[in-house]
Symmetry: C2
Subunit: 390 residues, 2 copies
């Protein structure tokens, strides 16, 4: 029998108890999404320091903003899974939990007697969710992995950046976040399945697998033709004009590869000669001559600023946008309209992207817990027999 | 009563019927994941051309490899939602479906009498899932959006690339794929909730919201300190050495920001002077002096190739990896071990990243359908009263 929800939660996962053995980013991002949908997430942290992300800067009044973003709405209990009697408390929590999420290296839980076979003996309905760099199988399974390492191995770095420059890192940890989101999705599927069949399951999510799945263009080209796409900077492999372009002040994004959009673009830029140029007559011609096309367009775009052009081009029906700094993205009116910056204690944190007509989306969340902030209460709960007779 | 599954499917979503009104990438990526978990996905395409992605190159024997990747395992029926009597067939399909997924611009379904209020009259248990650039609410809701436009607006372009270079596009459509994955996760949660409560729901996923959520480092820094992170190339904002580094031949990724990893790195590179240098004494010093540190490391790394160094550094316990081309990523032994390249008809496609102990993962999938390939069979099913008495 699961522990009771705290009564303040709503959402599709209300009443679902998550025993959260994760740290850093991929796992906590997953359990943050579960918490947003109403699950009760009990974060189990190793004393004394807890989740390594608690030390990631910047710190505000001693609290990591990075940690705060992805751990709001959770509870914390400090338990050392390697030591008695803490391990018994972990086992008791597992017995009452619906889902365990962990992102240790494969094999770590097994070494501590907490692998899937051991856990399903405690709780046959358990959904164990493991997130790792390479998954629980295969020759590279044992390797730890950072987001950057995965970006390199999956091929993404090889197609990001300019032909005359180096492979270029994506400026955020997308492999961690994508893997966390995939795990979140698999957990929802497993909970649905368990509701119908009673079955538990072990979910095994690899950052490497997830990132291969989104190498959509590069894999399509490579698997179909045998060629190996390289870096093409701010262009798109299968259409033009499509990418980031310089203006008189600032850059803009522009997606006008279709004949319709390109015609509108030429009209809005007042460059009828481009529309009539045989080098740019259709999609294949524009793609083949995209460097010449870029030069001609950027010459015309130099007349105004990015903001001015976006205003004009949007009215002309050309898909485009400004290139925001993170400050501008936060200030974008759409960000506030979608409640995408929340308060969590004294800090502001990113909002919940899972908008549902039946789900409240208040402007505040419970702040990320201090380590063991909920430890005494949870120890009290676990000491009762409430779950033992379930 | 939902239409029957085809009997060959297994997985947590076996028996779940998806009416798939999506095109291009974000929506089809979502329904591809649903199909991988056993859902029956009926793709409704507008005649005569169908999903716009059918024209995306490269083509193999007239079939788009891009389309094939994300539409394997689905059925297709050609129906024009704007015309009678096709719209009645769409309504009948909706009546029998568990989930509708669509990625039109917000308001499009409403204009055709197929908005959420209309659909829930037909099927009160329906889970309507809408994926769009900016969501169903807010001042920018009306705008269409391409992945590149969203990368610009969310701030990701502003932190990708080099300080002396332009904002730099990520080489794959990560906003589309992330939004599709978030939608997939929300659908699992909604199906679980419906199993317990009987409630339907409208899910409203915005690419912009999803991408803001993963601006984890930049938002933490900005919201905590008010500063605006910019482009720092192949470095990491809060640690060093951490990023992509040049060797004698090729680049490697290296994540050795901790004192432990940095010590191991210096030992493996045989540069004890670096370990003793006060400029690199601890994490704050290394971050502050990361350019000097990079120069010193790349001087040492020049002695061997990336492949040689990765072999050596991994044995020394330093997290690192090669920078694979997409061809090398496909050939990586881990890719085969994880069954991450599948056959679908005559083409090879990326595998299923959702590994579950109860889910079969065969090396083949049903190929992506030709437009209306399943139309006659589905029309026959819809003409029966099987679902009408449910």
């Amino acid at each position: 029998m699961p522990m009771l929800p705290d009564g303040t939660r709503n959402g599709p996962f209300a009443g679902v108890l998550i025993a959260d053995l994760t740290h850093a980013l991929s796992g906590p991002f997953c359990t943050m999404l579960l918490a947003e949908l109403g699950a009760r997430v009990v974060k189990i942290e190793r004393p004394p320091a807890g989740d390594v992300a608690r030390a990631f800067g910047p710190l505000v009044d001693g609290q990591s903003a990075y940690f705060a973003n992805i751990n709001r709405g959770k509870e914390s209990i400090a338990l050392d899974i390697e030591a008695h009697p803490d391990r018994e408390l972990v086992r008791e929590l597992v017995r009452r939990a619906d889902v365990v999420v962990e992102n240790f290296r494969p094999g770590t839980l097994d070494r501590h007697g907490l692998g899937y076979e051991a856990l399903r003996q405690i709780n046959p309905r358990l959904i164990l969710t493991s997130i790792s760099g390479f998954g629980a199988t295969g020759p590279e399974s044992w390797e730890g992995a950072y987001d950057t390492v995965i970006q390199g191995l999956c091929g993404l770095l090889s197609v990001t950046g300019f032909p005359d420059g180096p492979p270029t890192m994506v400026g955020e940890a997308i492999a961690d976040c994508l893997a966390g989101t995939m795990a979140f999705g698999a957990i929802g599927a497993a909970l649905f399945d368990r509701e119908r069949t009673g079955r538990g399951v072990h979910i095994d999510i690899a950052m490497f697998d997830c990132m291969l799945t989104i190498m959509q263009c590069a894999l399509a080209i490579h698997l179909a033709t045998g060629t190996t796409p390289g870096r093409i900077g701010n262009n798109y492999p299968v259409g033009a004009p499509f990418g980031v372009f310089r203006t008189g002040a600032g850059d803009l994004t522009l997606c006008a590869a279709s004949d319709l959009s390109f015609g509108r673009l030429c009209a809005a830029l007042a460059v009828p000669a481009l529309a009539a140029d045989p080098r740019f007559a259709g999609p294949p011609e524009r793609t083949a001559n995209r460097d010449a096309l870029r030069a001609a367009l950027e010459a015309a775009l130099a007349a105004h600023t990015a903001v001015e052009w976006v205003d004009e081009l949007q009215h002309a029906g050309v898909p485009c946008g400004v290139v925001n700094t993170i400050a501008q993205a936060v200030e974008d009116p759409q960000t506030a309209a979608r409640n995408m910056i929340l308060r969590a204690g004294a800090l502001r944190v990113p909002g919940n992207p899972l908008k549902m007509s039946t789900l409240a989306d208040p402007p505040e969340r419970r702040r990320a817990p201090a380590i063991d902030a909920d430890g005494p209460a949870i120890r009290g709960e676990l000491a009762t027999s409430a779950g033992r007779d379930g």
